[in-house]
Symmetry: C2
Subunit: 199 residues, 2 copies
Amino acid sequence: MIVATETAARPSARERLLAAADELFYAEGVQTVGIDRIIEHAGVAKASLYNTFGSKEELVRAYLANRRDRSTGRISRAIEGVQGPRAKLLAIFDAQAELAASPGYRGCAFVAASAEARAGGCVEQATDDYRAWIRALFLDLAEQAGADDPAALGSQLNLLYDGATLSARMDRDPTAPITAKAAATALLDAAIKPSGRRS
Amino acid sequence: MIVATETAARPSARERLLAAADELFYAEGVQTVGIDRIIEHAGVAKASLYNTFGSKEELVRAYLANRRDRSTGRISRAIEGVQGPRAKLLAIFDAQAELAASPGYRGCAFVAASAEARAGGCVEQATDDYRAWIRALFLDLAEQAGADDPAALGSQLNLLYDGATLSARMDRDPTAPITAKAAATALLDAAIKPSGRRS
DNA sequence: ACGTGAGTAGACAGGTCTGTCTAAACTCGC
DNA sequence: GCGAGTTTAGACAGACCTGTCTACTCACGT
């Protein structure tokens, strides 16, 4: 088994391909960007791509898996230093605001990929995985926060999160997560009856 | 000028092309569906398409304009029989719920088209028009409802509306607008201080 | 020095796409 | 009937796409 040069001096062909795919697929769309653009941007030969991934679809799958890991990792990191479920929930929107304000932001990669892919393909599966993770996170934190109806609160906050994603993309408005956070605050206040101690 | 057969017995070639484009573009995507599929589904010759619209891009533009007119018309109809701005705002979500539960629903056509098109094209312009109309509607009703901060409330409700659109599509969950309506109710209660009369 | 294996450049096949063009068929007022 | 304009079917051009294949280069362990 040859596992050398994994994190060697210069990035391997696989890493350069993944980096190029991430950049181009996200910026212009999975369907729009062709293989030739990818390999040109990565600086590798076409045969290297097909030796490494086997097909474009497999490259798309790897691109989405990479996006999922980075997104869930970013959110996890954003809330891990925050104390209390209520503050954690609001910190999710702060992290989203920071992301939406970063240059080159074009909305959720899964929404874009899903709009281009046909139903039932590998894109749909990756999308379902990613969205299930976020949904579970909102539900978990809503339970921890002591909501009267955690499922309802979690869904509502998730809706705000999705809406901010969509608006930031479609309206090119990086302040959408800020608006969502304000609405989330109001929903939290309404959904959590203070049981003894005040905020 | 020849303007006969506008609404004659059998639909004109233009109408059949538009109907075919609406069905196929919405179901499978603007980029994915080719000219040949459109003309086959419409039952017209390729030359008729290019004589009528001139290019595929122009057909896409007509498709989106048609979608916009039907969407804004549907929303206008849904709220025109409802008394009071608060009830009108909630009726928007009822209309959305009905739409999301209809067979073949695949989310917002503009979101899908925007994900496929390149930035700056005619799709972006049509999308901006449509979204500006909805944004103005939410702002107008929030003002009429007497919100303390109409701009904030309008944006927040718009965010819920967008989130429900996205979730209904991505999660294949037609109940998302119902969830959004519940959240909208809570936001309305929090944003409108009762000034004299009760609900 | 040499063989091995990975990477490279690029031609190529087979398919699909948009858009043009030709020639035949059809419609309809007269 | 007839002639003018419209519609039709389909071939075609030119571009682009994915994926395969050949031949060459280069690093490297032994």
